[in-house]
Symmetry: C2
């Protein structure tokens, strides 16, 4: 019997443009089967959370244009669970809005906020870590996060610095650190009390709302004024009229960095943000030439270390390429070295500039 | 007013498997717009011949399975002009058969036999050379060929050795030489009296039939017995019953190499057999990075010398490839170095062995 106070807010509004041409504005990464397993990333994330959380308590936060994709891919989800942003306003406004809705239906809720497009394979440790954090949130007025043990000085992530002297499993956070330089990242790793910020937050609903009230009073007032309408027929009108007025601000900046009662549990599961084709390559099975192949049937000669994706069953003959990203879609074929994976956002912009705007 | 005795036999039964995956058994090279001009190769060849030859006198020789493609692409052609081989039997049987049909309707015919899938741009010189050869064939009992001035010691073509002492424009042929070794090809070029055999033959209909009668008496008897039925409703039955009995033999071997009255006119037009992706590359316009791009829209970085073909308007982003063949079709993507263009037949075989037979 799952705990009816357990809730999740799945963040599903991003675009993942470094996975272009597969991930596009119209059909972003979280709705694709990036791993070639038969499930899309949001389906896998939903399944993972459902181990612990009643499925009717899993809310999906996304942009209005993705509503159809959500209902197609998660047919067990009802309209009540899909919270649509009428405009892009970063993470703070939509998390506050969803939290007020949840509080109105269950003032005892504890909530995990999690991205819908990350890779976590070890469901058992994940579930156990979330359970442990939920228990802490139920008995303490805190804002929590799960931090990822860094494996190398990645300059693409934010870091969480915790109190090195703490002997507890759940540790007080000293500060959030923005994406560091390489030198700084190396010193973080040397020091040992730094974790990657994976955007996974946990809290009691009253704690997060109190944090917004203290640190973002304007934003709080805006959404507080809607409480009489949430979970009623009048909600849509209120949101359509007011959502656009909210500030464009991240939840990290809005409440986490400003609060004193922030705690972190170092995660005991493997994690990958699937942020680039190269990180996807790392998580996929390889053939005997170290090519990671999704959907395609490959005939290769002197080709190794490549990340290859096509539509289902397409035959690809590759001779002589090493460490390339080869992605074929109906209207676009991308052949670039893995070392340039960070440039794909720029490539997409160049394509839009050169050929017009409908392809991203 | 075109000469009503002028005839052409267009050879359109080949498959062009080195142009796989574009050229396939079901849809061979001659029916594709390989040059990206808007016309298929057979359409361009038909137009070129029509400068000199009445269009109702241009016969298309092809396999029965390509009949629909011929009528689609050459809508002005009637059923009478399309001679269908019910089985693959190389060039001699079908040329003899078509010649007997033509002789029955016009015993004064002079005929050019020409491939349907080659590149010849200079229509004026082509027309003039054909005119000159036709006149010679009308006044002499000869078998003629147009030979191509070699530009390098190509080991992929047969050569025609002519009498170096001849002062005439049209020269007696001494012998046909099969595909030579590289050393031998170099000596041919050094000697100067060697031309490439492009498979372009010209003769009076009575000369070619007499040559078959002399050198291939069995084949001649087989098809001679059908004369009462040709160009009548009974023809199809006769061919269905008898065509398969004919020997599998090329026209070169059947009559040209065996005859003494063979003459060659060195061609005054540029010619390319479009035999491989590399030879197609040579004939296409290049962008400023020396990439030849058919149909695709390209965004390239450090990519040069590539032969690229996709479906219409597909966007391709290529970073770092040099001298590659990149061909994308719906079900197949080929990425191989141009230096391996001769291996594409083998690649096709490997693909069939590994993934099944329907893709060639």
């Amino acid at each position: 019997m799952k705990n009816k106070n357990y809730y999740a807010i799945l963040m599903a509004g991003g675009v993942g443009s470094r996975f272009w041409p597969v991930s596009t504005q119209d059909f972003p990464k979280q709705f694709h089967d990036m791993l070639g397993t038969g499930d899309t990333l949001i389906q896998r994330t939903f399944d993972r959370l459902e181990q612990l959380i009643p499925k009717e308590n899993i809310f999906i936060l996304t942009n209005a244009i993705y509503a159809d994709l959500v209902f197609q891919q998660l047919p067990e989800v009802t309209k009540r669970q899909v919270v649509l942003e009428p405009a892009m306003r970063n993470t703070a406004p939509c998390i506050l809005y969803a939290s007020l809705k949840i509080q109105k239906e269950n003032p005892d809720a504890v909530i995990i906020v999690a991205p819908s497009d990350h890779w976590i394979e070890d469901e058992e440790n994940f579930t156990q870590n979330v359970q442990q954090a939920f228990s802490f949130c139920e008995s303490h007025e805190v804002l929590m996060t799960l931090g990822i043990q860094p494996t190398f000085p990645n300059t693409g992530f934010g870091y969480i610095e915790y109190d090195a002297s703490s002997k507890e499993a759940i540790k007080p956070v000293q500060q959030f650190r923005e994406k560091p330089s390489y030198e700084l990242a190396k010193s973080f790793i040397r020091q040992g009390n730094f974790l990657w910020n994976a955007g996974i937050f946990l809290w009691h609903v009253k704690s997060v709302i109190k944090a917004f009230q203290s640190h973002q009073p304007e934003l709080f007032e805006l959404f507080e004024s809607g409480i009489p309408f949430y979970n009623t027929d009048a909600e849509a009108d209120f949101i359509a009229e007011n959502y656009g007025k909210s500030e464009n601000i991240s939840v990290d900046y809005a409440i986490m960095e400003a609060s004193k009662n922030v705690y972190v549990l170092p995660a005991q599961f493997d994690w990958n943000d699937l942020g680039t084709w190269g990180s996807l390559y790392d998580k996929l099975d390889k053939d005997h030439n170290q090519n990671a192949v999704v959907n395609a049937r490959i005939l290769s000669t002197d080709a190794s270390g490549n990340m290859i994706r096509t539509k289902a069953d397409k035959i690809i003959i590759v001779d002589g390429l090493k460490d390339y990203i080869i992605v074929d879609k109906d209207e676009v074929l991308l052949i670039v070295p893995k070392s340039k994976e960070q440039d794909i956002k720029k490539v997409l912009q160049d394509v839009k500039d050169k050929f017009g705007g409908h392809l991203g």
